[in-house]
């Protein structure tokens, strides 16, 4: 046999052998052929706890970049948003494409309709990350101004990772995005990770600079190579020569319990892992938090309220924003869970007291109370929740809460001015001369029962002109004016999830010159109306409170209140007012993004 014949026989044998292999086991042959290109991966564990670090290691074809996509199996589409206002905004406002320069709506020439960045049914994973050694292909690091309220926006400067436009992504990279397949999905993902409303409504994961949420991490890389704040907890090692890699990624501490994640390595599905709960999950607060911490914080605020006697609802709102970080379920903006969760506090603070002072002691000027109530009903039931749910998402809510705290702080400083303090002292001296008379009166048994309101001019006309006597002193007021004022109070109270007592009492003491013990019972009717109406209004819109947060707040603040009222005597009025004023100014600076570190 010649050399040539030998080669022919070997070639034919090899051909027949390989042909036979394919015939006998086609998949095995394909798999073996693909084996060279498919990444070999291993996920550290299929069962992890939230906040744990997940490690993915294996091998990809040599020379390639590493793209690990980690996507939650739980998905979110704008049309499925639980909150009615959020649904409307995501499907009918924020998704409309606008010209960057003119801010005008772009009309799609093909359809003649408004051009949409995403559709109501566009689905994205609720949490989505790309761990890579080459983040530049997905976007770029750019400047970001942050901090400051809407009136001094962008006080500070930092960096953030901006996702690039879909059209600028290469076709190869588009293949590596896992469940994100379309331009609409990419647009919606960008919105969910870069816009505050998207972050506070969908993923709830904020990457912080100080105490300010800048954006939500999407593309992360090795922290040692690129030490940006969003890369903390991520390590990526890739040997391009061999294709061997190891990547670690710290999972989000407040991921909903039992969320399953799909892991894709360079477009190939590499596996799945589950994130189990760690700690107590607040089902509507959408956070892990030991309720005892909420309770403890509420006790501290309660003590404060007990000593100061003002601003309980407002301080509790601040506490929820700053410490509890009430986030609301997926599809509901954080603020729309926070507000109804705060309302029970004001409801129960007025419930018992109102019964005693209004019904039993009859110290309520009813025409005034009912007019206030009617106004508050309109404000807190119809206008407030609708207005607040639509126009006061978490970010704006914080700014306005800051302005409220500022106004309260300024009022306190005014009360601390020497002029007002002197006036108060002078009044106190007048009383001394009555003490003797009183002593006599008590000895003679003249210390009578508590005063009750005696109507002078009542009936239905009392809505316009109401006159009554209390302990011989005559009061004349126009309840309809208070009805109108009540609308404003109702809107404010429902919008912030507070009672509105801090507005009602000064209105009555200044506008109607009512003494405090007559103003408070009426304000309690107002608070009662505002909290019931606000709760009902939010309920009808589909916004429910987190009952665990609400219970802890009520229990803690009232228990603290009892303690606070007992230790109040250890401090002077001046000390307490200064302390409250300082706290109010601090809250103002915090909520307006001026102070961002403490």
């Amino acid at each position: 046999m010649s050399k040539k014949q030998t080669y022919v026989i070997i070639f034919i044998s090899a051909f027949l052998l390989s042909f036979g292999m394919i015939q006998s086991s086609p998949t095995a042959a394909i798999e073996s052929a693909l084996a060279a290109t498919k990444p070999h991966t291993n996920i550290s564990s299929a069962e992890l706890k939230v906040g744990d670090t997940v490690t993915v290691e294996g091998q990809i074809p040599a020379g390639e970049d590493l793209f690990i996509v980690i996507a939650a199996q739980t998905t979110f589409a704008p049309k499925d948003a639980l909150g009615v206002k959020e649904r409307k905004r995501l499907t009918n406002k924020d998704n409309i494409a606008k010209d960057k320069k003119t801010k005008k709506t772009i009309i799609d020439p093909a359809t003649g309709k408004k051009k949409l960045k995403w559709k109501p049914g566009t689905t994205i994973p609720y949490l989505y990350y790309i761990v890579t050694n080459n983040p530049e292909v997905f976007g770029k690091v750019g400047d970001k101004r942050y901090g400051g309220a809407f009136f001094w926006k962008g006080l500070y400067k930092t960096n953030m990772f901006y996702l690039t436009k879909w059209n600028k992504l290469s076709d190869l990279v588009k293949e590596y995005l896992g469940p994100i397949k379309t331009k609409e999905q990419w647009n919606f993902l960008t919105y969910a990770h870069e816009k505050k409303f998207g972050i506070n409504t969908i993923g709830k994961e904020g990457t912080l600079k100080g105490k300010v949420v800048i954006f939500s991490r999407t593309v992360v890389t090795d922290y040692n190579k690129e030490p940006y704040y969003w890369n903390k907890g991520t390590s990526v090692w890739l040997d391009k020569a061999t294709g061997k890699f190891k990547a670690s990624f710290k999972t989000f501490r407040h991921t909903a319990p039992n969320t399953k994640f799909d892991v894709f390595v360079n477009s190939q599905k590499a596996g799945t892992y589950n994130l189990a709960a760690k700690g107590y999950w607040l089902s509507r607060g959408w956070r892990y938090m030991n309720p005892l911490w909420i309770l403890l914080g509420a006790v501290v605020i309660g003590i404060w309220f007990g000593m100061m006697g003002a601003g309980g609802g407002m301080m509790m709102s601040a506490y929820q924003v700053m410490v509890v970080h009430t986030s609301g379920p997926m599809g509901i903006n954080a603020a729309n869970t926070l507000k109804p969760s705060n309302a029970p506090l004001t409801f129960f603070s007025s419930l018992g007291a109102m019964y005693r002072y209004a019904i039993k002691d009859r110290r309520v000027a009813w025409p005034l109370g009912m007019c206030f109530g009617a106004g508050i009903f309109i404000g807190a039931f119809w206008i407030g929740p609708n207005f607040s749910a639509k126009y006061l998402p978490m970010m704006v809510y914080k700014h306005w809460l800051g302005i409220l705290t500022l106004s309260m702080g300024m009022r306190l400083v005014y009360e601390l001015t020497p002029r007002v303090m002197e006036k108060r002292k002078a009044i106190k001296s007048i009383i001394a001369k009555f003490n003797e008379e009183v002593k006599k009166a008590r000895e003679e048994g003249r210390a009578a029962r508590m005063g009750k309101i005696e109507t002078i001019k009542g009936g239905f006309g009392a809505i316009w002109d109401y006159r009554f006597k209390f302990w011989g002193e005559e009061f004349a007021i126009k309840p309809w004016i208070f009805g109108l004022t009540g609308i404003f109070v109702g809107v404010v109270a429902a919008s912030f999830g507070i009672g509105g007592g801090f507005l009602l009492v000064p209105i009555m003491t200044t506008l109607a010159a009512l003494p405090m013990y007559m103003a408070v019972p009426v304000s309690m009717i107002g608070t009662m109306f505002s909290s019931v109406c606000a709760l009902a209004g939010y309920f009808l819109l589909g916004y429910y409170p987190d009952l665990v947060i609400a219970t802890c707040i009520v229990l803690g603040s009232f228990a603290g209140g009892v303690i606070g009222s007992r230790i109040q005597g250890y401090f002077t009025e001046k000390q307490l007012k200064w302390a409250l004023a300082i706290l109010m100014f601090f809250l103002f600076f915090r909520f307006t993004g001026t102070e961002i570190w403490i």
Binding site: S349, G472, E473, S557, G561, Q568
Partner: protein
Amino acid sequence: MIYFNAISDFMDLIWEEISVVFPAIGGLLAILFYPLILMGPAVAIIGIVLSTILITRWLSVRTEPERLKKLRSDFQHWMSVRKAAMQASDNENQKKINAKAVDQSYLDEIYVKMYIESTCWNGLTKGVPILLMLHWVTCQFNTENLIAQYGKGYVVKLPFALGVSGDTLGAFGWFLTSLVLCYLGLWMFKMVKRGSIRKIFNICI
């Protein structure tokens, strides 16, 4: 940070111990209210709300702190001071000035203290039990349980649509509605019992 973590771990430990008690209490409540639960979710929730209100009222009256009683008597005292101050002059303007002086220097302050004390005590004795019951009711009568037990996923069907939940009310909504209805009912009952329904109108007008 180490101390904070240690405290946090300790708090978690306490919570773990406490959280064991809740299912047991829930089970006990389910046994206690079993006859009501048999009557359907709507009746059961009304019954639960009513009994909660009655218990909280009893609790609130029985456990009134001494400080609150003292503040009430102080308030009465300064009220009488006010009266005396007003009687001390025949001039109307002077009367008002005198009354205001008493208000601003003592009465208002005592009233605020009394208000805080009673508010806190009422919140503890009324608010907390009601909220805990609301929590238990929403768990006990959640949609899955309602379907399994009564074959329907709601508590009450309304003749009209109401908000985003349509024409049905779940346990949460029905509990709140029952709460308002029960308080109103008890108030009316008290008024009628006292002798005359006219009192209600007298107060309002």
